[in-house]
């Protein structure tokens, strides 16, 4: 795939990926903003409010009608956390022109709709409709509360909040309930007016249309985008783990306990750290899966992930409350083995093959490509899946060991079930 990225207007970048093997085209537009406690909630609320209506399609029914007419085009608003950036905007997907039963052109109307959602929201007396803002505030509050419905998500979120308290990375993707409650339609509109000119915009297209046509459609759709001085945010700061790891426990009425652990990885050798994480717990033939699950039957799942931009590795596992110590010790023991370079050649080759295969497969999914490239542009990395694969292949066992040794346990969070009979 011949990916290209180009500045098509001031601080507006288009990542273009030609592909004619899909049934659909995917088009997305995002504002890349610094993740901050003060603005996270308003940022998260904004696309939901914009998605409620434009001047041309002022309510959900007329917006839905416009999209149904384009053969079920879908435009979803998204709020994503990429490193210490918050990316807000819309992802549109529409059937490829080749399959439009009457030979209609679908790219241009979808681009127009995207532009309208950003630039021409329905307003009254120069502000958003109070009704829309209030109802989306409630939805956002519900969504923030709903994080606790999935207990593993809750444990992982609580771990990040505690471990990165005071750092932008500790701010929740959706912001917090109290800040949402303080927003009103007037404040949100002012925020929107400030945000538009001061944010970098990232556009993405993957589909069968020619580059010039996509560029033309987007330039037209976003021609009214105001441009000012763009504030891209501070570079990400890395913080050292405390001398002694912190242990936190909370109790809930659940059958299964959720264990989340976080390490700070003090290394700049990102490819080696990616490999260390994979061997430790990144795939279904990693040490955590083979030992904590398969050998000791302690859990249904135990896996690790590594956030390269922030230099943090985390483990998530669902275990019996009484097995906390055993699972905790076993997880640490498995990491110790990686630090000591104790793995078989097949373990290394297996996780490398799995990782390379999933990087190769990226090109088969428009959604995955969109997410991959937005993540890259948000944190200022330009690396194709092919390039990353090459970097991983060149990593030596010594580098993996060294990267693993740079990991220091920072925080352990355990969400435990109430003891039987205690309630």
């Amino acid at each position: 795939m011949n990916k290209s990225r180009k500045e098509i207007m001031q601080n507006v970048f288009l990542t273009y990926l030609p592909a004619d093997k899909f049934k659909t085209s995917v088009l997305s537009a995002h504002l890349v903003t610094p993740l901050k406690k003060e603005t996270a909630s308003a940022n998260a609320l904004l696309p939901a409010v914009l998605r409620r209506g434009t001047m041309r399609c002022p309510d959900m029914e007329s917006l839905s009608a416009a999209m149904d007419t384009l053969y079920g085009a879908q435009i979803d608003y998204t709020v994503r956390k990429k490193g210490e950036r918050q990316c807000i905007g819309f992802v549109a997907s529409v059937i490829d022109d080749a399959f439009a039963p009457a030979g209609e052109k679908l790219l241009e109307p979808v681009a127009d709709l995207l532009g309208e959602l950003f630039l021409d929201p329905v307003t009254h007396n120069g502000r958003f409709l109070a009704e829309y803002v209030e109802s989306e505030k409630q939805n956002l509050i519900d969504a923030i509360r709903a994080i606790s419905n999935d207990k593993q998500d809750l444990a992982d979120v609580r771990l990040m909040q505690e471990m990165c308290a005071g750092e932008p990375y500790g701010v929740l993707r959706l912001g917090d309930e109290e800040s949402v409650a303080r927003i009103n339609h007037h404040k949100l509109f002012n925020h929107y007016r400030e945000l538009l000119p001061s944010s970098r915009m990232e556009l993405f297209y993957c589909g069968s249309a020619k580059r010039e046509r996509v560029e033309g459609a987007l330039r037209r759709a976003f021609s009214a985008l105001p441009r000012g001085v763009v504030t891209d945010g501070e570079p990400i700061r890395r913080i050292a783990a405390p001398q002694e790891p912190r242990y936190l426990t909370e109790e809930m009425d659940v059958t299964q306990g959720k264990l989340s652990m976080g390490w700070r990885c003090d290394t700049n050798d990102v490819p080696a750290m990616i490999m260390a994480n994979l061997i430790f717990g990144g795939t279904s033939n990693a040490k955590l899966f083979l030992n904590v699950r398969e050998k000791l039957s302690l859990c249904y799942y135990a896996s690790s992930s590594y956030a390269r931009s922030k230099g943090i590795m985390t483990v998530s596992s669902g275990i019996e409350t009484g097995d906390f110590q055993q699972a905790h010790d076993e997880i640490l023991r498995q990491l110790e083995l990686v630090k000591q370079g104790q793995w078989e050649e097949w373990e290394l080759q297996g996780v490398l093959a799995t990782m390379c295969s999933s990087l190769t497969s990226l090109s088969d999914s428009q959604g995955a490509l969109e997410n991959y490239y937005l993540g890259q542009t948000a944190i200022g990395v330009e690396e194709t899946p092919e390039e990353l694969k090459e970097l991983l292949r060149r990593v030596t066992p010594e580098r993996i060991q060294k990267a693993a040794q740079s990991c220091h346990l920072d925080t352990v969070f355990f969400l435990k079930g109430k003891e039987a009979g205690a309630c």
């Binding site: 959900m60 079920g72 109802s135 939805n139 509360r145 059958t255 033939n285 249904y300 799942y301 090109s363």
Partner: protein, 427 residues
């Protein structure tokens, strides 16, 4: 047999091996991934069946348990074998089928051989069966903490009087204790036989090589298709109109189900699925007037959804999500159903929705998993999933109205609600 589907730009090749196994190859030029799915028509609902002339009653959760244990081989574990080759293997058990699959970009044929071999050759010991209790016990614990799952289970138990659709696919910690190596061998013999299975491969592959490998690895002959028992036919009225329970959640979550007549396979079933989904979309889908109204009243949010599902001997429409007033939502749905029946559907609205559903079905063809599962299901129920453009053409607004009139009625409806625990404490 090669079939071209010009309207959706797809091709399929179906062959039946001498041992009776149907094999489907869906070529996908330009894709890096190759995907293989090996499915058996055996799921959580198949607990009672006849083997070698005798009726067997097996414990709830056994199909899922068997799925876990199939990865064990005399040499070790197939999951790891596949992962070593960079493949991403997995499996799932639904009500009616069990599927094993992997996708890989390299060593595809080697991986396919591993897949075919571990699914067709069972290898259990009492010790290995015993050990799995811990892992599956944790899996059951995890899903029991999931409010959506609890809500669904409660809905099925409200809708059905005795159908095995009432029983959770994974069973319970108690029921899986009764599983032994011998019962697993019996179930494997009964259901993992070529005539009861289907192999689907999606991607840029050599179809002849796939067929050759399958013939080489799999048994030369098939066992018989055995009789199964899902109990006597269910009445169309639900077992219990309303069920409640409480969990640690932030706001109430609900599902309403409407019992529909069971389907019996063939293109009629494919048409029923398209019609049922279109009807519920016309009534309460994301672009319906009702959805917009309930959303703006704050009665539903983005979590709201609706669909139509067909199971062995059972079919139902369902809708739900998070809401502070589930009863008001269900009442509004029932009222809107009556209004539509009374006033008819706006023809422009109907066409728009039909186009949108066509677009959604077309989009689903980007997913190799989705294609493979629908091919296997189509084979097991004797319909062609790629005929959806023709099926959509054949559905009229009157068909949709008839469906709504017949099925979206109060007497067919059961409601399942999960309330937050916090409310009890306040009361």
């Amino acid at each position: 047999m090669l079939t071209n589907y010009d309207r959706i730009g797809e091709v399929t090749r179906w062959e039946t091996l001498p041992n009776g196994l149907p094999v489907c190859i869906v070529p996908k030029k330009g894709f890096q991934r190759k995907y293989a799915l090996f499915a058996t028509r055996y799921g959580g609902m198949d607990m009672k069946f006849q083997l070698d002339g005798q009726w067997l009653d097996t414990p709830a959760g056994i199909a899922h348990y068997l799925e876990h244990k199939m990865f064990d081989t005399a040499e070790g574990n197939a999951l790891q074998e596949l992962a070593k080759n960079g493949a991403e293997p997995n499996a799932f058990t639904s009500n009616a089928i069990t599927c094993y699959y992997f996708s890989s970009t390299e060593k595809f044929y080697e991986n396919l051989k591993i897949l075919l071999s571990f699914v067709s050759v069972p290898y259990f010991t009492e010790e290995s069966v015993e050990k799995e209790q811990g892992i599956i016990g944790q899996e059951i614990g995890m899903i029991e903490d999931n409010p959506e799952w609890q809500c669904y289970k409660q809905l099925m138990q409200g809708l059905y009087h005795h159908s095995p659709a009432r029983t959770p696919i994974a069973g319970s910690v108690e029921s899986i204790r009764q599983i032994t190596a011998q019962t697993l061998y019996d179930c494997h013999k009964a259901f993992y036989t070529p005539a009861n299975m289907c192999l689907v491969v999606v991607g840029d592959v050599d179809g002849d090589e796939v067929l050759r490998l399958a013939e080489e690895v799999l048994p030369e002959t098939s066992g018989p298709l055995i009789p199964r028992d899902y109990g006597e036919e269910e009445p169309l009225e639900p077992c219990q109109k309303e069920s409640h329970s409480r969990m640690e959640i932030a706001m109430p979550s609900f599902l309403a189900g409407f019992k529909c007549p069971p389907q019996h396979g063939g293109e009629a079933q494919a048409r029923s699925i398209a019609l049922g989904e279109l009807a519920i979309d016309v009534l309460a889908g994301e672009s319906s007037p009702l959805y917009a109204q309930l959303y703006s009243q704050g009665l539903i949010n983005g979590s709201f959804g609706c669909s139509y599902d067909v199971l062995p001997g059972a079919a139902y429409v369902y809708l739900g999500g998070d809401s502070n007033d589930p009863h008001a939502v269900v009442q509004a749905v029932l009222d809107e159903a009556q209004r539509l029946v009374r006033e008819g559907i706006n023809p422009a609205y109907y066409l728009r929705l039909r186009n949108a559903n066509f677009g959604t079905a077309l989009k689903a063809l980007n997913s190799f998993e989705g294609i493979a599962v629908s091919m296997a299901e189509g084979k097991f129920h004797d319909y062609d999933p790629y005929r959806f453009p023709e099926i959509y053409d054949s559905i009229t607004a009157d068909d949709v109205l008839d469906f709504i009139r017949d099925n979206l009625a109060e007497e067919r409806c059961a409601i399942s609600i999960i309330d937050p625990l916090a409310n009890t404490e306040k009361e």
